[in-house]
């Protein structure tokens, strides 16, 4: 089966659009597979996603059930990672917290990447006053300290997961717009764009079908590298009490509540810290690998 797919995808005389597209994807995958660090990152991310998705099955306890007689228990057979200050099982909270944290990250990326891509390519392609307007707005957002703007935004709305997502999205899109614009400027006057104009295509079609696809690889790389900082921002907002609200087990909020007894009962804070560290590192590894594979300037 796999060998068949391999032969089919790597065939130079592709017989259909689908085959050509899969051939391209498969070659990228092969190149990525050759990078052990990127594969390690991908494995960790996939593992985290699977663990978070299967949290209801895997978690030994309900993450919100309190057992005050057994609070701040050390890791043991009954509670593999111990319990927190309200006697809740930390492993269960970690698994459920993965859903909240990863969900927030994915929501932010889904909001941010297309917005940045659209703003950047339109500004770069049309130039003139469109470019000036869009880029000055971008500059304004870039000029704000990220966490402070997010804090102000969450404070203005109500603290919670949705506001956190919006706040991070609001502060995260400008770099994407800048990258997309820079990419667009380098290809705007390329002959293949002029050739597309000579089909009579509208400027919007040229931006969407010819310019934007070439900006996507560098955006993917940037998004993956940014994932870790999005996770950390989300955790920081949680830590400051502006993110997910109790009893929701968000990783940053877990660290925040554990800070009171971080010296005596270190394991309460340790588990979410390690989780954040691992997933951030994994995204960085994957991003580095993707940059090597996807960067159009190298092929």
């Amino acid at each position: 089966m796999l060998a068949d797919f391999r032969r089919w995808a790597l065939n130079d005389d592709a017989g259909s659009r689908r085959q050509a597209a899969w051939g391209r994807r498969y070659r990228i995958w092969l190149a990525l597979k050759g990078n052990p660090l990127a594969m390690l990152g991908l494995a960790i991310i996939l593992a985290c996603v699977v663990l978070a998705a299967l949290a209801p099955v895997l978690a030994p306890y309900d993450p919100t059930v309190q057992e005050l007689t057994d609070r701040l228990a050390k890791p043991s057979a009954a509670h593999l990672l111990g319990t927190d200050e309200l006697g809740r099982d930390i492993l269960s909270r970690l698994l459920y917290g993965g859903r909240v944290t990863l969900g927030m990250v994915i929501a932010v990326v889904v909001l941010v990447a297309p917005l940045g891509l659209a703003v950047g390519t339109v500004a770069g392609f049309f130039g003139g006053w469109v470019d000036t307007c869009l880029m000055r707005v971008t500059d304004v957002f870039l000029a704000f300290p990220r966490l402070i703007l997010a804090l102000a935004f969450v404070a203005a709305l109500s603290p919670g997961v949705e506001s956190t997502i919006l706040a991070i999205a609001l502060t995260a899109w400008p770099p994407y717009a800048r990258i997309a614009r820079a990419e667009t400027l380098t290809i705007r006057h390329a002959d293949f764009i002029e050739a597309a104009a000579m089909t009579g295509a509208s400027p919007w079609r040229i931006v969407a079908r010819h310019v934007a696809p070439l900006c996507v690889p560098s955006l993917i790389v940037r998004v993956t590298l940014d994932m870790s900082s999005i996770i950390i921002t989300a955790a920081s907002l949680g830590f400051l009490g502006m993110g997910a609200q109790p009893p929701s087990p968000e990783w940053g909020a877990m660290i925040a509540t554990a800070k009171r007894f971080i010296l005596d009962q270190y394991w309460v804070a340790l588990a979410p810290c390690v989780a954040i560290l691992m997933i951030s590192l994994a995204f960085n590894f994957l991003g580095d690998g993707l940059r090597d594979v996807l960067d159009p300037k190298q092929s």
């Binding site: 130079d12 005389d13 592709a14 017989g15 259909s16 659009r17 085959q19 050509a20 391209r24 390329a190 002959d191 293949f192 002029e194 050739a195 597309a196 104009a197 000579m198 089909t199 009579g200 295509a201 079609r205 079908r209 010819h210 696809p213 070439l214 159009p296 092929s299």
Partner: protein, 253 residues
């Protein structure tokens, strides 16, 4: 029969610098007109103004008796198409040949994409196996054939050729030139070709204009050129240069 292309008093300026000054020429339907000159003489700029890719021109351009403005509409591009100089830069790197060729059909809502793409590939003597390849999987000559096929798929009356062979290997140059000559005869196309190579122009065009410093200094037929009837000093220079290059090449062989 109306004149196919009529350019009169064409002037083009880039940020205040006049690159093309008062260029006028006519091209009859089915004719092949060459513009020859050194790099920087403004010949490609003239061609891009004709194609509507350059909007900083003044003067008057008529296609088939109709005056055209700075912006061209879709119907214009069903009549006029262009082949670019660099086949490595003129094909979208992330699109298959199929996608590149079908873009015109998609934009203009023309059906039978499969049939037309296959016919266009056959027209430029490319095997249909290249259809779903990416440009980087093709050779320079094959890429330029794809670029020609892309222009032909619009079934144009006029083909603007911007040094279509200068980026290619010498052996491939002849192939592409012969293909262009053959296509013109078969499809009754009108050509305007720009080149710095007099021999290439003389091979494909019956009439030519020589440009220097943004001015078209002389227009003459290829026959007059062969009979050494060029009058202007610059044209004679170009002739001498191309002759001496030929001797060098012959000596090298």
């Amino acid at each position: 029969m109306t004149t196919m292309i009529e350019a009169s008093d064409l002037g083009i300026a880039f940020s205040g610098t006049q690159v093309v000054k008062g260029v006028s020429f006519d091209v009859e339907p089915g004719e092949s007109f060459g513009i020859v000159g050194e790099s920087g003489s403004g010949k490609s700029t003239v061609l891009r103004a004709l194609a509507g890719l350059n909007r900083d021109w003044s003067g008057q351009i008529c296609f088939d008796g109709n005056k055209v403005g700075l912006r061209r509409d879709r119907t214009f591009y069903t009549k006029v198409q262009m082949v670019f100089q660099d086949p490595f830069g003129s094909l979208h790197p992330a699109q298959t040949i199929d996608r590149i060729l079908s873009e015109f059909l998609l934009v203009n809502g023309i059906g039978d994409i499969d049939g037309r793409v296959n016919r266009a590939l056959a027209e430029v003597a490319l095997p249909s196996s290249v259809r779903f390849r990416f440009p980087h999987q093709l050779s320079g000559g094959q890429r330029q054939r794809v670029a020609i096929a892309r222009a032909l798929i619009a079934e144009p009356e006029v083909l603007l050729l911007d040094e279509p062979t200068s980026a290619l290997d010498v052996s491939v140059q002849a192939e592409v030139l012969n293909l262009l000559a053959d296509l013109r005869q078969r499809l009754g196309l009108t050509y305007v070709m720009v080149s710095h190579n007099l021999a290439v122009i003389a091979h494909l065009c019956a009439r030519m204009g020589a440009m220097q410093h943004g001015i078209m200094v002389e227009q003459l037929t290829t026959e007059a050129l062969r009979n050494d009837k060029a009058v202007h000093a610059h044209t004679r220079e170009l002739v001498d240069l191309s002759l001496s290059l030929e001797t060098v090449e012959a000596a090298a062989l």
